[in-house]
Symmetry: C2
């Protein structure tokens, strides 16, 4: 029987535009907050995993593992960067989890970070595009917005999903973010506002997609049997799954379904021995509004095609059956690519500890995070349980 | 007791300039060769780990995990890219090893790849520089050659290491590469040739450093207790260590010593229950000639300062006590950054199987690989044993 793994500490920076702070400062801030929250010293940490999508393109810095060990004053601890596009944070959590299960480490720090605002806008869009297929999507001019727009259009055609239903996702997530002091956009928006703002890629408007952001989040993972030494509120990782799909959307059997999400979540549900109905709170990858609708379908919260109506019916709002993106999600908490998967865990752990002031889901005991790389080439799903 | 891990298959492309082949083709070729060598089908593979330093900068493609799963026809298997500068390949092997030890996977494919020749020379140098400290080295114009030149100069000052001794490393590695059909530079060079070619960064000439290259290498790792089902010649990973140092050299206690190599190798020696004298063959990170001299010191093959004289005395040549870089090393086999750590394992496994025609170390049973990220911010050491 391999080790079980628990989250014993979490930390996160404010998400947004950090003009006076560089990547390493953000990384250090989140890491320090997580160590303090876990009541561990640097010397207790056995290994570091950094989730980051593209610091090479954004700031001219690869080798973030060594950078983190160095600037967190954790040398000679082994430190490795994990990349899976904007699922990098989720994949880094999973590597930390596997590393503890391997028996080689007792306590690891997982730190997700991205600094996106130092480049001109066209270079940011170009960098984001490197998570699509360079030969068959990016080089033909397909941006992420245009790829998601095609997906959204087909979802509307196949299932009758409406623009209003998509906008409802955005309205919900902005509303939640008002209660999140670390969120990027802490103001409400209306359905009319989402529909009437500038068109990004038909049918998606500028408010349908996550903006870019700077930020970092960190968690401390620990052998579950040691966790009580450090905290009274350990949160168990009771399920962890990852899966892949074609990197380009044209090769998929159905672009309105994320097969990698279905596969990764089945692994996680089976490990956790739960069904989707058992989930009390979830952080989902709403890079675009349609992505959250597809996520609740592919995670089997609702039958395929029922994502749109379910959002309209309030299933996923706080007070609904499965509140989703109580943090504000990628859209309103913010989406610093490599940090996002870790920021999702930050929120779910806050919820399971009962610390999500103003946006708390009453009695939440089981939480889920779902990270997506690109348009679904990578999916990572974790399930968390309050002990 | 966690699982032991064995190498059951290896594959590698020719290393060099591949003008007609792109990154994904190189990756597929190496992966297919490794699967065939291991006698496993794609469906036997449980997970994929990709070692790559900077495809974002070199070819505008991140998200190599999904790319690999897709183009190797291995979806929905989980697939993750690991980055640790030019130790990425070694770090990816280590992640594959930990993943099997975790008990979640039985068989994993580790594939290292880099495609460097598609950019103008100044952009290649710029990309390589992203493994140094962006704020405190790269932005002040320090190239890797200049950083290694400072290290070499101090090593000469402290220990009396000579230019001729450094050149001897290059002469040995080029001689070995003549016998390696997959090597980049299969021709001998002379001490005079190394010393008289153009100066790169005083005291290092153009022949002291590895050139850049395109290429890929792959290994199939398997639970050791299953390995005999697939091969009669499994090679056990009997030790695995990784460590970090400051990313910039100016913060180190001593730039002529790689503390991360000392630390990583101690972990690996202890796990394997061997001493350095037990090593029969080693692949070392000779990104510059001085790096191989420091490696044999920091791996404790010889006392500190004796690296230069030991090379002169023939310790590390084929027929010497510890033959190093029988493949030709980074210098002459070639150094496609993220592929290199996996290419090192390819060579050591060939040696331990007795398949290194023309460069075979007689009776080799214990092999070692040492990967370095940048100027030593990351070090990964593995020890392999013929079963």
């Amino acid at each position: 029987m391999n080790q079980e793994v628990a989250v014993i500490g979490i930390g996160m920076t404010k998400i947004g535009e950090h003009w006076e702070t560089d990547l390493r400062d953000l990384m250090i801030e989140a890491g320090d907050l997580a160590l303090m929250d876990a009541n561990v010293d640097g010397e207790d940490i056995d290994a570091i995993f950094i989730g980051n999508m593209s610091a090479g393109l954004f700031i001219g810095q690869e080798h973030l593992g060594a950078l983190a060990a160095d600037y967190d004053a954790l040398t000679p601890k082994p430190s490795t960067r994990i990349e899976a596009a904007d699922a990098s944070g989720g994949a880094a959590i999973r590597m930390g989890y596997l590393a503890i299960k391997s028996g080689e480490f007792d306590i690891v720090l997982v730190n997700g970070v991205e600094k996106m605002s130092d480049l001109p806008v066209e270079e940011v869009i170009s960098a984001i595009g490197t998570s699509s297929d360079q030969s068959w999507e990016r080089n033909f001019g397909a941006t992420f917005a245009s790829l998601w727009a095609m997906i959204a259009r087909l979802h509307m055609h196949e299932y009758g999903t409406t623009r209003e239903q998509m906008a409802q996702v955005i309205v919900k997530n902005h509303k939640n973010a008002v209660q999140n002091p670390l969120a990027q956009f802490r103001f409400p928006v209306t359905i009319e506002g989402v529909l009437r703002t500038g068109m990004l890629a038909d049918p998606l408007t500028n408010l349908d997609g996550a903006a870019w952001a700077d930020g970092a989040a960190a968690v401390v993972l620990c052998r579950a049997d040691y966790a009580k030494k450090f905290t009274d509120t350990p949160v168990l990782i009771s399920g962890s799954g990852q899966a892949s799909d074609t990197i380009a959307i044209h090769d998929r059997r159905d672009i309105t379904t994320m097969d990698a999400v279905i596969k990764a979540s089945k692994i996680a549900y089976d490990q956790a021995k739960i069904t989707p109905e058992d989930v009390d709170v979830a952080e989902l990858h709403d890079s675009f509004s349609i992505a959250e609708i597809m996520a609740i379908e592919d995670l089997d919260f609702v039958p395929k095609g029922q994502g749109g109506p379910s959002v309209e019916d309030g299933l996923t709002k706080i007070g609904g059956k499965i509140p989703c993106n109580t943090s504000g999600g990628l859209k309103a908490r913010g989406h610093p690519l490599g940090a996002t998967g870790v920021a999702q865990v930050f929120e779910v752990v806050q919820q399971l500890r009962g610390e999500a002031n103003g946006r708390q889901v009453d009695g939440a005991t089981i939480g889920l995070t779902q990270s997506l790389g690109g348009t679904g080439g990578t999916a990572v799903v974790h399930i968390f349980k309050r002990r």
